[in-house]
Symmetry: C2
Subunit: 267 residues, 2 copies
Amino acid sequence: MSTGTLKLPAPVSIEAPRSRYSQIADVIRRRIDDATYPPGSQLPSEEQLAAEFDVSRVTINKAVWSLRAAGFVRVRRGAGTVVRATPQIVRDARRWHEQRYDATGAGQLQASRLGLTAHTQYVWIGRASAPPQVARLLRLPPAAPVLERQQRLFTNDKPTQLAESYLPWSIAKDCPALFEHDAGPGRSDARLADLGYEPSHFAEDIKVRAATDLEARALDLDSPQPVFEILRTAFSADGTPVEVTLHVLPGSTWTLHYEWGDGESSR
Amino acid sequence: MSTGTLKLPAPVSIEAPRSRYSQIADVIRRRIDDATYPPGSQLPSEEQLAAEFDVSRVTINKAVWSLRAAGFVRVRRGAGTVVRATPQIVRDARRWHEQRYDATGAGQLQASRLGLTAHTQYVWIGRASAPPQVARLLRLPPAAPVLERQQRLFTNDKPTQLAESYLPWSIAKDCPALFEHDAGPGRSDARLADLGYEPSHFAEDIKVRAATDLEARALDLDSPQPVFEILRTAFSADGTPVEVTLHVLPGSTWTLHYEWGDGESSR
DNA sequence: CAGTGGTCTAGACCACCAC
DNA sequence: TGGTGGTCTAGACCACTGC
């Protein structure tokens, strides 16, 4: 299948000549789009692709690299490269808030409307020292004691979100329910309400950054992928911050949705 | 300065052995953090770095690549690699809305509080066909006529944001002010209010993706950088979508901020 | 013109996976 | 054990920058 030069659909109009690996990445991506390589299927090995496009394997590797960063493929060392199914999931911050008293938690409600399943894995719950940024947001001294709740959230049995909640120890220590595993997402808000700290005001700060190796493993991602980092602070009616949550979401699978104002919803 | 093997501060605890280029990237990043390579300064050439770390230039290139993706350095072909100054800018969606009648526009007000300067460049304003996604959000037929306003926004004289606004032609055609260049950001909302379509409800959808080459040039970025893509829809009181704006922001320089609920602001 | 980064190659060794 | 991707090298040519 060696062709010597890369076949292009047409000379690119006014654009500068692209590099070889970039053109190859485009071709592969097009094959993914038109299901020549359908979701879940295995890409030809880099050796084979190198032969097909008549380039070295390093060049193929570079092309695949860009596809990984964009979330199109998933590489497993030793096994092979598979095409990712990339369902889009919408995170509606407002609805999350409104549904906080729902027994199943907002995440599950949200997912079920789309025919998805969801569940939560509790990685760790216990007393810890507040990280600097969290301490600042909770208006506590550095390294103050907090209740930390680490969760991993799944959609259709695939990990799609990491969340670490922090509550001031002075508030959390009196509520045994907060230490239990089955307090679904949103449940902690209800517990806070029981204690007289009902969250009524919320702030979220959103950044993008590359996933750490740890996060990549926990979310079943390739390492160079960008993730959303959402820092959510919940305030009680008197303006006291009562909970800070750090969410980490794969950038390629999520759309964040915010909505505000007087009128009707658009959705 | 050739050392043969890379000096590490300490054997990494339980972590897997890192690749060479990744370790080198960490070292360079640390030098940027402690101002061994201060912002604006030029990195040693890849040849020099290759000699220092006793690796091939390809390996250095790969290390630099990851620093580019994270936004730490800016490479200019033929010239060299310089350390980026990476000021963090916060985009407060709510405040943007509240300040829409301000003469200077929300962006400028927001920036001036931090001692920054801001200005807007109008790339193009005129009648166009609505892109599919925009038509859908505006509840117009595909390729319906719209008024398109393309802007490039600067902070401290550096481009930091691209924005494309779309208004239904049926609404915009009666308002000459909307065709003018000096209608600052936020101003279009005031013009819509004059026409009886005051925006009172807003929705934003946020995605992350790699910058296109065009965007990279317009924003003075390296190509592989992730950007925020924000699709903002403004609704009038009766629920009619009256304006859709596509914002593109470099991921490494912006933090998005949202806030809602009853209580006091936390800022 | 010299220096810089962009890209490519051929060959090599390794870690990992599935059989 | 064989196939896969991860990484590295030495050398090369090119495009672009700035003097």
